[in-house]
């Protein structure tokens, strides 16, 4: 394989990866521009190119684009990509405390580590992980999505119930649109544009972008949203001391990424939740600028890249939205992803790996040189920044579908996010519910349908090892949150006494 890689790595190959990496940095850090959208545009541009160069360009955009979502998440509290949602939870508070450069360097280093570990896992364990994923039943996918929603409840610092309510509202919103099984329009009220469902990008821009503008404007200049890069000295050794959490989160991200449909946002949120549980005494509490939050989130979402490629390359089942686009790029170039890829065009596996590793190096190069310069966007005064960000929100919501309806929806979600945040509901669970709701709906109903003909439905549902593990994880996730809540009440009562 290494010999294959050395023959693939030519100067033009490196050049297109660098070009893709720079594009990915820009696309990922611009709110409203998504890596998925950029990859889709590239597929249409590169279909006449040499396959290796096309894949190199796409991998450059993918790897660096996932990383660069953290830049705006840290500097202006708007995740450049859905997988950076959990980075905002600690990245932005850390930047507001004058440690923007530390937050950026942490994101850079652990994105690099996460990407490398993800690709190594892809290289060595594509076979075994794919075998495990193949054993997942539809009900297991439902349980996996449900587990994601129960863990996100704990991301809301004030109330677990409010977190679950937010997630439940997200699941409800995911049911809006044409039902995939019966073709019935649900909750569309005759609005044709709602037949395709709630567009995720518009919702994301509204909930995280436009609502942030409204929140900041309502604060009447009591605190500044602009976070400038100061002349702080950042110790790389201090960042690297979190390597065990980084490696753990990277592996977790890669494994979650290998499960079709799970993707970076789920991986990052679960890793973040795990970091909260594992880290007993963070220097700064989670949600207020804990470095461990950035480490877990960024290592996991970049680790997810390698993981998401496993089912895509070996089963032709995309792990996330970007790999779904890459899958189409394979078909356009006449390749057959799945088991046949390894027998007919085995060199393509090496192309993907080589491009991935070079793109990882580009994370470090661009992260240390260009990313801090992007903070100039966030150093702008808020009366200059907000109008520009609002215009970007409009452009971003429109660009994904060329439809004004999405822009109106973005404004609606912005107002919803503003009200929710004012009333102390986190919007992150709503987004996850919106993303995972479709997966839950489809898999749960199909499972229930199959169970109608079963003699022992409970046994069929819960007695497979995977279902049992997932069920136990859900029970543990819910109970642990309520137990800690009780402890909180108990401590408060003790204080009163």
């Amino acid at each position: 394989m290494l010999a294959d890689m050395s023959s693939i790595i030519t100067l033009p190959f490196i050049g297109v990866i660098c070009l893709g990496a720079v594009s990915g940095l820009f696309v990922g850090s611009m709110p409203g521009l998504s890596v998925t959208m950029a990859t889709a545009l590239l597929v249409s541009i590169t279909y006449t190119w040499d396959t290796n160069l096309a894949m190199g360009l796409i991998m450059g955009v993918y790897v660096v684009g996932v990383y660069s979502g953290a830049i705006t998440a840290i500097l202006i509290n708007i995740p450049g990509a859905p997988s950076s949602v959990s980075t905002t939870l600690d990245g932005y508070p850390m930047a507001k405390r004058g440690k923007a450069l530390l937050a950026l360097r942490t994101a850079t280093i652990y994105s690099f580590i996460g990407s490398v570990i993800g690709l190594i896992i892809l290289m060595v364990s594509a076979g075994p992980v794919t075998k495990l994923a193949l054993q997942f039943t539809r009900f297991d996918y439902f349980l996996l999505a449900f587990f994601g929603l129960t863990t996100i409840g704990s991301l809301t610092s004030k109330s677990y119930v409010k977190g679950l309510l937010s997630a439940a509202m997200g699941v409800f919103l995911s049911t809006v649109g044409m039902d995939s099984m019966f073709g019935i329009g649900r909750f569309t009220f005759g609005i044709t544009n709602l037949q395709r469902g709630i567009p995720i990008v518009a919702a994301l821009i509204g909930l995280f972008g436009f609502s942030e503008i409204l929140i900041q404007v309502s604060k009447k200049k009591t605190e500044s949203v602009s976070v400038a890069i100061t002349d702080e000295k950042v110790s790389t050794m201090k960042i690297l001391k979190h390597w065990p959490l980084g490696i753990y989160s990277s592996v977790l991200g890669a494994l979650i990424g290998a499960l079709p449909g799970a993707g970076g946002p789920v991986a990052a949120l679960i890793a973040y939740d795990q970091a909260k549980r594992i880290t007993k005494d963070p220097e700064v509490p989670f949600g207020e600028g804990a470095i461990e939050g950035i480490v877990a989130s960024e290592a996991a979402n970049n680790g997810c890249i390698g993981g998401a490629l496993i089912p895509m390359l070996t089963l032709a089942v995309p792990g996330d939205a970007v790999t779904a686009v890459i899958l189409s790029a394979f078909y356009i170039h006449g390749l057959r992803p799945g088991p046949l890829l390894f027998t007919q065009t085995p060199e393509m596996f090496s192309v993907i790996l080589a491009a991935g590793f070079i793109a990882c190096l580009m994370i470090l190069v661009l992260g240390y040189t260009v990313a801090p310069l992007l903070s100039k966007v966030a150093a702008v005064k808020e009366r200059h920044l907000f109008p520009i960000v609002a215009t970007l929100c409009v452009v971003g919501a429109f660009a994904t579908s060329n439809n004004f309806f999405d822009v109106w929806l973005m404004i609606g979600f912005g107002i919803l996010g503003f009200i929710m945040r004012k009333r102390e509901y986190s919007v992150a669970p709503l987004v996850l519910g919106l993303v995972l709701g479709g997966l839950m709906d489809d898999n749960f109903r199909r499972t229930m349908s199959l169970l109608q003909s079963s003699d022992s439905p409970i046994k069929d549902l819960f007695l497979s090892p995977i279902s049992m593990v997932l069920t136990l994880l859900i029970v543990f996730s819910v109970l642990s949150n309520f137990i800690s809540f009780r402890e909180l009440i108990f401590e408060r009562n003790k204080e009163k006494k």
């Binding site: 119930v161 019966f182 009447k220 907000f386 109008p387 452009v395 709906d441 229930m448």
Partner: protein, 147 residues
């Protein structure tokens, strides 16, 4: 009773219970094929029931609690967000008529003034440079359609 209704958790809970009731009523219209297993109403009704239970879990402790809540919304603080929302709605309404460059230029000018910018040089510079840059970047360089 009236003091309980002033509590935000009670207000939210009551609102969500009413909303869930309306969702269930609407979702029942989609159940047309006998079996519930594949019914398009299954998840909306199920999730509405979960929302009702969670709302009750939020309301009951809030009613039992004797703590007074500080007002979450202050109408004074709502003026600026309301102005931004109204201006953005107007911007969206005018975009198809004036097109991106002119509408964005006007939007940026008014919004910067609302947010307190008084230097006309800054207003002029930003409101011209930003729409042009976005147009160049998206429409020309990336080939993305602008509103």
């Amino acid at each position: 009773m009236i003091s309980n209704l002033k509590k935000s958790k009670v207000q939210d809970g009551v609102f969500l219970i009413i909303l869930s009731g309306l969702i269930i009523k609407e979702a029942l219209n989609y159940h047309k094929y006998g079996s519930w297993a594949l019914s398009p109403s299954l998840i909306p009704i199920g999730i509405s029931c979960v929302i009702i239970l969670l709302s009750l879990a939020m309301i009951i402790p809030a009613i039992k609690s004797e703590e007074e809540e500080a007002g979450i919304f202050s109408w004074e603080a709502m003026k600026s967000p309301a102005a931004v929302i109204a201006l953005t709605v107007l911007y969206l309404a005018l975009l198809p008529i004036l097109h991106f460059l002119i509408a964005s230029c006007g939007y940026l000018v008014v919004m910067m003034m609302i947010l307190g910018e008084r230097k006309f040089l800054n207003i002029g510079l930003i409101s011209v440079v930003i729409p042009l840059s976005l147009y160049g970047l998206f429409a020309i360089l990336l080939g993305v359609r602008l509103p």
